[in-house]
């Protein structure tokens, strides 16, 4: 031991230089961030705002015509498992017939900057536009601010080949006065010069809590398909007295997703685990 210490002492400068080089190299290699706290809000997530992805969807739409059938992938709850989410994204890259992806919330578990960046890293591996919908876990900590800065508004709409998609915030523990029924009514209204084949609603959570009759309200306002996540397992149901189908997609753990096929007359959904099978609707 003494001899080792003697060598250490006699080679002090070398050791110091080695240590400093090691630290500097680690810094360069690790390239880690100087972060003030876990609650920072400056998420680095280039190219993943809703507006940027809608611009890409517009470009795809221009290669088609209203009335053409199309497919959309439905993903949800990738939080805590970015690896499986990444694998799901990469698998969907091979599905040339899928035009875009709807990500139905809970991108993260605790609403922190680092978590959003991990999810964004996987999103950036997609060769398709991804439209994210805010989930309850996304809204924790400063997630509501991060969402606005990174992705955009909580409620938004877009049209694709004659189908209107309406994304709304239904995270009732984290937000007051949601869902915004007035906004939903306006968002689903058909304008005089519009050709509308379908109206599809998207929220992280299925109708619940303060809006128990939401399904009826949505059906009355012309919605003909609803998409959700939150429960981490596939489910597909409609209330007998309402008739509006609600599809709940599973989480992406172990590579799970759904494929929705929209034709001028029909909307069908397959649930993929990862082999795709038709989703069967349950009457409740």
């Amino acid at each position: 031991m003494n001899s080792i210490m003697n060598i250490v002492a006699s080679n002090g400068y070398n050791y110091l230089r080695t240590a400093l080089i090691a630290v500097a190299t680690t810094l360069i290699l690790v390239g880690c961030d100087y972060e003030l706290s876990p609650w920072q809000t400056d998420v680095y997530c280039p190219g993943q705002s809703v507006d940027e992805n809608l611009a890409l969807i517009k470009q795809i739409e221009q290669t088609k015509q209203i009335g053409d059938s199309f497919k959309v992938a439905l993903l949800g709850d990738p939080q805590q498992f970015p690896e499986d989410f990444d694998e799901t994204i990469k698998l969907l890259n091979t599905y040339a017939e899928v035009d875009f992806i709807i990500l139905l919330g809970d991108l993260v578990e605790t609403g922190l900057k680092q978590e959003f960046e991990w999810t964004c890293k996987a999103m950036n591996h997609s060769n398709k536009p991804i439209i994210p919908v805010i989930g309850n876990h996304d809204s924790l900590s400063y997630g509501v601010d991060i969402w606005l800065q990174t992705f955009g508004e909580y409620d938004f709409t877009f049209s694709y080949l004659g189908t209107k998609f309406v994304a709304y915030n239904d995270n009732q523990y984290e937000f007051e006065d949601v869902p915004d029924l007035d906004w939903l009514e306006q968002a689903s209204a058909i304008s005089d010069d519009e050709t509308r084949l379908h109206t599809i609603g998207m929220s992280h959570i299925e109708p619940w809590g303060r809006a128990p009759d939401l399904s009826q309200f949505l059906a009355k306002n012309g919605f003909d398909q609803m998409l959700h996540a939150h429960k981490h397992k596939f489910a597909y149901y409609q209330r007998e007295e309402v008739g509006l189908p609600h599809f709940i997609t599973a989480d992406t753990q172990d590579v799970k997703f759904a494929i929705m096929t929209v034709t001028p007359d029909t909307i069908t959904i397959e649930q993929c685990d990862p082999v795709c099978l038709p989703a069967e609707i349950e009457i409740r």
Partner: protein, 169 residues
Amino acid sequence: MEKFVELQTGSLMGMAHISFGLTLHKNHNFSIGIGFVPELDSHEEMTLTSLKYRYEGDTRIESELFGTSITISPFNFGLASLIGHQDEIYKKSPDYLPDGYYFPTAKRVIFNYQTVVSFNSDLQVYMDWSVLDVGLINYVRNFEFYNDNYDAFGLEGIVSYGFGIRKRF
């Protein structure tokens, strides 16, 4: 029993974080601290409090820097419980949430590693690398993802760094 005061910046502990501590049984250091982040574009104004433990390894490298003797302690591992004090995060689940629905958003656990340079028996400077609780859990669960997408075995994706100075009494 030695006492110490340390002042740190970054590494998830605030723009400035001052801690007061005790060294027990040579290697074991306990401290409590208070930190602050001013209002910034990327951060709400926030006060932070912490309870920290650091294990200081026995390895020492003696050297000299600009004619001054220094001692490098390369292996220091620590754990901190960090609480953020701000209205939008909570230490206790609010009444409107069912019990156990979420973990309190104002409480986090931070794991850290330090390299400490002592200029004399009293004064130390250190570099701190820290990993958030959720970072460590995700890294273990998703090692391939981090290894494939970030440098240094994926650690780039989860590690934050900071610096500090420590005065022993």
